[in-house]
Symmetry: C2
Subunit: 448 residues, 2 copies
Amino acid sequence: MKTPEQAHSAPPRPHVAIVGAGFGGLEAARRLASAPVEVTLIDRHNYHLFQPLLYQVATAALSPADIAAPMRHILRDQKNAVVLLDEVIGVDPAPRRIVLRDGGSMHFDYLVLATGSIYNYFGHDEWRSRAPNLKSIDDATCIRRRVLLAFEKAETTTDDAARRRFMTFVIVGAGPTGVELAGALAELARAALASDFRRINPRSARILLIEAGPRVLAGFADRLSRFAERALARMGVEVLLNTPIGAVDACGVTAEGKHIEAATVIWCAGVQATPVASWLGLAPARGGTVAVAPDLSVPGHPRIFVIGDAAHVADARGNPLPGVATVAQQAGRYVAEVIRRRAAGAPPPAPFRYRDKGNLAMIGRSAAVADLPWLKLTGWLAWVLWSGIHIYGLIGFRNRMAVFLNWVWAWLTYARGARLITGDDPSPANDPWAGTGRPSEALDKVID
Amino acid sequence: MKTPEQAHSAPPRPHVAIVGAGFGGLEAARRLASAPVEVTLIDRHNYHLFQPLLYQVATAALSPADIAAPMRHILRDQKNAVVLLDEVIGVDPAPRRIVLRDGGSMHFDYLVLATGSIYNYFGHDEWRSRAPNLKSIDDATCIRRRVLLAFEKAETTTDDAARRRFMTFVIVGAGPTGVELAGALAELARAALASDFRRINPRSARILLIEAGPRVLAGFADRLSRFAERALARMGVEVLLNTPIGAVDACGVTAEGKHIEAATVIWCAGVQATPVASWLGLAPARGGTVAVAPDLSVPGHPRIFVIGDAAHVADARGNPLPGVATVAQQAGRYVAEVIRRRAAGAPPPAPFRYRDKGNLAMIGRSAAVADLPWLKLTGWLAWVLWSGIHIYGLIGFRNRMAVFLNWVWAWLTYARGARLITGDDPSPANDPWAGTGRPSEALDKVID
């Protein structure tokens, strides 16, 4: 915000609107701190979410506030930045305006679209409420509720088939999120909950990780995939490869013509870009992304940039860059530099080049894989590296300390600190829990 | 749970059903650990909630998991205890069965009803969605969402009257919860949020604490009430005494014929007992409670006990005991002893007598009041005492550490660690936010 004095004396500075406060958008906003521009960072949520740890909220290891940092607080000292809690629903490139959910619109001189991706149900949107995915905090607390309720329902039901259904958890998709969630779920069942029930043995919960492709962690080196698969098997996760999902219904999933009864199904399969391409009237590239120019601007719209999961950028060998935090962050830093130079009348920087820092995935206690450019690590060392990098990536001392202390505590006690069933399922009509009520008068069995 | 062997060799032990895992119910369950009985602890939630700190969740200082401990985890080593996540909706005293929400029922030999109280809207249940109260975690996150959204909406609206409405917070009822909430809200606005906005100054938020009676903290000594009132005034809280609320509508409250425009209204006024009296077919005592016998059993039903906020117990001078945690805890301990002796064939203990340990209330940073039997404290010393007792009262090392560290951090930085807007308002139709949309095209002012 300008002071009234500045507003009269200084020439107007270009306005950079950044849509999305994820890794890319937030990095772009912060890197513009010293640039001669005004920045508005717009997000539907009032916080930057550290998505790589969202699966730990879903499995009761961390609280939402541990992995979320309020946007306003992050940018409170950045004088040229304004935060807006709102949802962008469209772009008018010619008059250079973005359209907001509640009817307003906003002018921009430069626009950075860092809107990320959403889960793709392969055209079956009716699966969405039956098999929640893991993108937002509300998604994570929804999954946490379903997982914890499944054990509660298994404890009280008197129907053996229903009990087996409640004790079966299906995770669709064995990318990093699916693998990490399966491992964390196995630890929850085998350790944290192990001695807390009387009639069921949580250790006997079935956890299935179902993947359409031929291996887990497809983006990693072959050897690491095999390590992860073995580690998951040791933890009691059943990994089904080459098994595309045919249907999701109220009682489980159908794969390869076989129905697997499961009350809890979690969707970690493919993602697609947010509808940025259609906002801009462009033909979408792979996965709904926008194919951008070497400076990450949109062809034909030099003032509009797309970064992160919503952008299609090819590496030196022509392969698309993966939808991970480091790609978005490096792109955010790059467009901030492009805009800074353009606003200052300086020549543009060299085309964007992604510096691959590698991939990490956690499987479980003392087991992780690290696929680094110069090194492949498994086991304990990868686990330490994973933990350190994730704590470092969090914003602010408070969240780093909170996550660190929660991990130390969980490591020492095997317990999970956030085992709360909160909120209601928004759509009881589509609820996989419907029709699983207990036969009347049968409850005395609970105390037998 | 009995092992199969015990089930065959030992005579059946009496079954104690405890309804409600609050301070009273949980204490009763734990104190029965060594008694020759089987215990079932039933609650609608899967955790014991430390209600005295709920206002800190509502004001973004603590996370829900910091003040909640999973029932199963607390009782995991108590071999004679079973936990049931369910809702009791009635009691059949003659066949000694309790009726559960989803159609089941359960036999008991002894029944402890520790179901607590709910907020009373003085017959105006339509106020409930407009003025949420503070009883559950979902209530607290709802209030947190509304409070944080109010500042966001005030920042973006271009309508001066709407901005004033969003910046006005009304708390109805100046008991301990109302006073603590008002103080915490003042600290949130004046310190934590102070430099995070660009167009509004959160310091200028109006916080009104409206009380029908002649003083704040009516249960405390007169001198402490006056101290609390002055401390609140110093923090910028407007305290209106002798001001009963006439109406709550979508735009605020009406009191003494005057309408106060406020987007956020929080209900901390009177409570009433859960409908235990009607379950038992009894005429309710004051506030819907059940007047119990000197051994806390229900007259005519010697195997049924009512404790805590749902019970009417008079002290030596004939005044009803207050609805606070220590009364419920002492009563829980007492009925556990009654049941233990009766199950063992021993003579009953002396009638229940409440040992008053005093009352505490927090106002703000380094300001609290302590009304102890032998001492009245105000200011810094009361604040230290309040903090120590509340940390001590939490269940488990993890939650004690989490709350302690959050407080240290908040004390040092003035920041609030859980400033997240999560979830949706369940009833948008009754939402005080409706109709407060922004005029189209006006948004550019945000960045002016």
